[in-house]
């Protein structure tokens, strides 16, 4: 089924509203993009929208109660809440260094969750 979607381009601060037609695999711009950069963005947004995920995880015995984390690469949009749920269940032990993997293959996405901060042991 072909549907129309309105996508706000975020490539530059103008924020063009791009209208696209897509059936999930095929993709076509209807109108709205002021430049070519918008096409690539709109295509990804229409076919496979992904987001970097940043949040925090509980850390035991650290100088801070929480450690900030991120996904090792952008995650599919629909996986955001399942991933958050898994992170919430987890707790790590201090010390942790920035860049250290905290959860491997989170929610079966083959994406890892990585610390973005170094937290020393208290």
């Amino acid at each position: 089924m072909i549907t129309e979607k309105k996508i706000t381009c975020i490539v530059c601060p103008i924020g063009c509203k791009i209208l696209v037609k897509t059936d999930g695999t095929q993709f076509e711009i209807v109108e709205g993009n002021k430049c070519k950069k918008g096409i690539e963005y709109a295509k990804n947004e229409a076919l496979d929208p992904r987001r970097m995920l940043t949040t925090s995880a509980l850390i035991n015995g650290g100088e801070w109660p929480l450690i900030s984390v991120k996904s090792s690469k952008p995650v599919p949009k629909e996986k955001i809440f399942p991933i958050l749920k898994e992170i919430k269940k987890n707790a790590v032990d201090a010390p942790i260094n920035s860049g250290q993997t905290i959860i491997k293959n989170v929610a079966n996405t083959s994406i890892d969750i990585v610390a973005t901060k170094s937290v020393k042991k208290l």
Binding site: S56, A57, L58, P65, L66, K88, A91
Partner: protein, 486 residues
């Protein structure tokens, strides 16, 4: 069940002043306060003025206690370590008609033995931003910090063994053979004498024992606070001639101890005594009325707003003015009622306390304590110390070296001292009113997190139980991540 000789209902300025006065004697005294700290109601939200006594008829209790209280203020301030400054006040007349009102006020003041009153020509007053036809100069009017005054009275009373029960609401009173059974949200108590200093709730308390023969009319007063930058707009307090039909003094301009200026209060009779909302309309009106006195007040000078509730015994229809009623319950001996204690209640409080003590002495023989601590040990603020004093203290206790509130330069040691107060008040506001943390420009933006950490780490208060100012004013919902107990 705990037995007391005197139970005071209400930890406002009146209840606290009575508690402090009674703490001079060998008596078991308790104060029930439903708020999370003393000065939770009208005692906190007013002009902070120490009145002279020119506004009430000589025969009235308002005049008597105001004049007496005024005279007691300086020595109380010295002993208890709260600030008072005798900045004086000008009541201004815009025209010949208002000048005759000034003359009347002066006569009332003279009849009340208020010294130093003087009517001056508009050009003679020491206020370059005020233009007026004439002014009544009242040199014995002063300013104080109403919450610090109340806290000082209460803490000194507590240091002299008066028991303060915060977050304790009196839910029922019953006359018994030897006194009263007092039902509260924290259990039942007995007391020989009950002092009803419940402010706006005074009628509710009376009605627990007898049919009240009076009504309470809440009258809201909104205020605006101006930034410290504008402190030099006035030297003294500037009042218009009183608004007779409301029984109030009118929107006046008051410098504060902290260096701000207050505009207000408004006077609005409302049904809900708890409705302390400020309104956009009144903010505009206050600014307009204040500008009739000082045209030079800029819009952006306003940095804060609050409101307080007057406890009036006369309705708008009746002209809003009624005298205090300080007397034993009509059918209930042993119940001492303090009704309709509105302005100048702050000034009158120490004198009312003496009067109530005298009333109590008629049924209980009062013996003075020989270990009464009349002075409250109140150290200097870090920000007011010399560098030497600061260095010595940091060496003794390094928490004096950690600034928690960057706007007002309040240290960790001062926050801890505030949280360790003898009343057991543990809210964010009780910290603010004791050491000024959170009172500066950022309004707690920086220090709240540090104070919360101190409450959590050093006072073991759970984040869910932390409060802003009152029993149900929780600060937080809970944890971002629930910590599991293993």
């Amino acid at each position: 069940m705990k037995n007391f000789q005197v139970a005071i209902i209400g930890g406002g300025v009146i209840g606290s002043a009575i508690a402090r006065e009674l703490s001079k004697y060998k008596l078991d005294v308790v104060v029930f306060e439903m708020g999370s700290d003393v000065a939770s109601g009208a005692s906190k939200a007013n002009s902070g003025v120490v009145h002279s006594g020119i506004n009430s008829a000589p025969s009235s209790l308002k005049a008597r206690f105001c004049v007496e209280g005024n005279k007691m203020f300086q020595s109380l301030a010295d002993g208890l370590g709260f600030p008072v400054r005798w900045v004086g006040k000008c009541v201004i007349a815009k025209n010949e008609e208002e000048l005759s009102e000034l003359k009347r006020l002066k006569q009332v003041g003279m009849d009340n033995s208020v010294p130093g009153l003087e009517i001056k020509d508009g050009s003679e007053i020491n206020e370059s931003n005020v233009s007026c036809h004439a002014a009544l100069w009242v040199p014995t009017a002063g300013i104080t910090l109403p919450y610090e005054f109340t806290i000082a009275l209460a803490e000194n009373a507590a240091e002299n063994n008066v028991k303060f029960l915060l977050e304790t609401k009196v839910t029922g009173l019953k006359k018994q053979k030897n006194g009263f059974l007092i039902k509260t949200t924290k259990g039942d108590f007995n007391s020989e004498i009950v002092v009803n200093a419940a402010g706006l709730n005074c009628r509710e308390i009376v009605s627990m024992l007898e049919e009240p023969d009076f009504q309470v009319y809440p009258c809201r007063g909104e205020y605006l606070i101006l930034d410290k930058k504008y402190r030099s707009l006035v030297n003294s307090m500037i009042y218009p001639v009183p608004v007779k039909e409301l029984g109030v003094l009118g929107v006046h301009i008051t410098p504060t101890i902290e260096g701000n200026i207050l505009l207000g209060p408004s006077a609005e009779f409302i049904d809900d005594a708890e409705d302390k909302r400020t309104t956009k309309e009144m903010m505009k009106t206050l600014l307009k009325e204040a500008r009739e006195i000082i045209p030079a007040i800029p819009d952006k000078a306003v940095i804060n707003a609050y409101s307080g509730m007057r406890c009036k015994l006369a309705s708008l229809k009746e002209g809003g003015w009624a005298d205090y009623q300080i007397e034993e319950g009509k059918q209930t001996p042993g119940l001492i009622n303090l009704l309709g204690i509105e302005s100048p209640g702050l000034t009158a409080a120490p004198a009312i306390a003496k009067e109530v003590t005298k009333m109590i002495s008629q049924s209980i023989k009062l013996k003075t304590k020989n270990n009464f601590k009349s002075r409250r040990v109140k150290g200097k603020r870090f920000s007011e110390m010399t560098p030497q004093e600061q260095s010595i203290l940091i060496k003794k206790d390094d928490r004096w070296g950690r600034i928690v509130c960057r706007c007002e330069h309040v240290t960790e040691a001062e926050v801890i001292e505030a949280l360790s107060n003898p009343l057991g008040a543990r809210t964010l506001s009780s910290v603010k009113y004791r050491c000024r943390a959170g009172m500066g420009r950022c309004q707690g933006g920086f220090c709240t997190q540090h104070i919360v950490r101190i409450m959590e780490g050093q006072f073991n208060i759970d984040v869910k139980d932390m409060k802003l100012k009152s029993p149900d004013s929780n600060l937080f919902y809970g944890r971002t991540r629930e910590v599991k107990d293993d």
